[in-house]
């Protein structure tokens, strides 16, 4: 499965969600499929996308928050899995695209290439719903199940280590940040 195909498969569902992505290929690929004001791309601060998602999910319990994370980023903030589990925001779905590689900086292997299991670590941290999927159909079904379950889920999607030719897009970082905040603040406070 290619990450771009996986994002494309859920792009329609993301229209009704608050989406936070990591930097690099994930951000560039989601933008290539169509930017929306409810998408925020954390273009640095590796590891913190899930923490930003948690801050949003706790502050906006009526919003459905989706974090599009990566193996390299999760490995930089493993403690964050325990914090997610501790607060168990039921409105947060944590997708981890695991290409077993730091693709955007030369493709060096991460520890998932030698067996470290992010879904296993998430489960051990206490995240109630976890899964690892390897095909597009399984990914789409698991993502829909996560949204329907209304509980904190870490969904690891094993994807090929391929990405876009470049990572810089024409969307300014601050343009994205202020547009996203304005959208988020306009949402209702309670379900």
């Amino acid at each position: 499965m290619k990450r771009l195909e996986a994002i494309a498969a859920i792009h329609g569902r993301l229209q009704d969600c608050i989406v936070v992505t990591i930097m690099g290929a994930v951000a560039a690929e989601l933008q290539s499929l169509g930017h929306r004001p409810n998408f925020f791309y954390l273009q640095h601060a590796m590891g913190l996308a899930s923490s930003v998602g948690l801050g949003i999910a706790l502050s906006k319990p009526a919003a459905r928050v989706v974090v599009l994370d990566g193996d390299g980023s999760v490995l930089m903030n493993l403690g964050g899995l325990t914090t997610l589990a501790r607060y168990r925001p039921r409105n947060l779905t944590h997708v981890v695209f695991d290409n077993e590689s730091l693709l955007s900086v030369g493709g060096f292997p991460t520890a998932t290439a030698t067996g470290s299991d992010i879904a296993g670590m998430a489960a051990a941290a206490g995240i109630p719903r976890t899964a690892t999927v390897r095909t597009l159909d399984d990914f789409t079904a698991a993502f829909d199940a996560a949204l329907a379950a209304d509980d904190l889920t870490t969904l690891v999607a094993k994807v090929e280590a391929v990405g876009p030719a470049g990572f810089v897009t024409d969307l300014g970082l601050l343009e994205n940040r202020f547009q996203f905040a304005r959208h988020l603040r306009g949402l209702p406070e309670t379900p």
């Binding site: 936070v20 925020f40 954390l42 273009q43 640095h44 601060a45 590891g47 913190l48 996308a49 899930s50 923490s51 930003v52 998602g53 948690l54 801050g55 949003i56 999910a57 706790l58 502050s59 906006k60 919003a63 903030n77 403690g79 964050g80 325990t82 914090t83 501790r86 607060y87 970082l173 601050l174 940040r177 996203f180 905040a181 988020l184 603040r185």
Partner: protein, 171 residues
């Protein structure tokens, strides 16, 4: 424990008066009462962190969603958080308000705190983060309110250093 409950209450009440509704924290001795106050307050969302840098993300998410927040941490936690402060809060112009216990400074008895104490202010200066010290009860509320105002007018991080003379009752 000679950490001042009264001073902690003054700080906590000042945060509440500024509309703070989210506190992320990693415990340290001087912060125990503040964290318990947040824990006991049904209107406060307390996020207990595994490592301080996560708090930068929590505060960023809270701010984008329209909530006021602060981070409570020791200065070693501030040092631990620097990448998040630079590449999240500064890059994305987030009004991150940090209350940092200034350990390892004048009066410190614990040798292990001293290196962090020496570099805290130089690092704040290097990061161009404005700061004031809270070291007497009568200016706490005023300085917290001003810090919150500056953070939100600049959309940048602002720090308040919690000093020994305020937090510790036996000097």
């Amino acid at each position: 424990m000679p950490v001042s409950v009264d001073a902690s209450r003054i700080i906590y009440d000042a945060l509440k008066a500024c509309g703070v509704s989210v506190v992320s924290a990693l415990p340290e001795t001087w912060l125990v009462h503040l964290i318990r106050m947040a824990e006991d307050d049904p209107d406060m969302t307390l996020v207990r962190l595994a490592k301080e840098e996560e708090g930068v993300g929590i505060s960023t998410g809270a701010h984008l969603a329209g909530a006021r927040s602060v981070m409570l941490m020791q200065n070693h936690g501030f040092l631990q958080s620097i990448n998040g402060i630079v590449s999240c809060a500064q890059l994305y112009r987030i009004p991150l308000v940090m209350l940092i216990s200034h350990r390892g400074w004048f009066g410190e008895r614990d040798p292990w705190q001293t290196e962090g104490g020496l570099v805290t202010i130089p690092v704040l200066d290097a990061l161009r983060i404005p700061y004031e010290t809270l070291d007497a009860r009568d200016h706490v509320a005023h300085r917290i309110a001003k810090a919150m105002t500056l953070a939100h007018s600049t959309n940048r991080p602002v720090a308040l250093l919690l000093g020994r003379d305020l937090m510790w009752e036996d000097g």
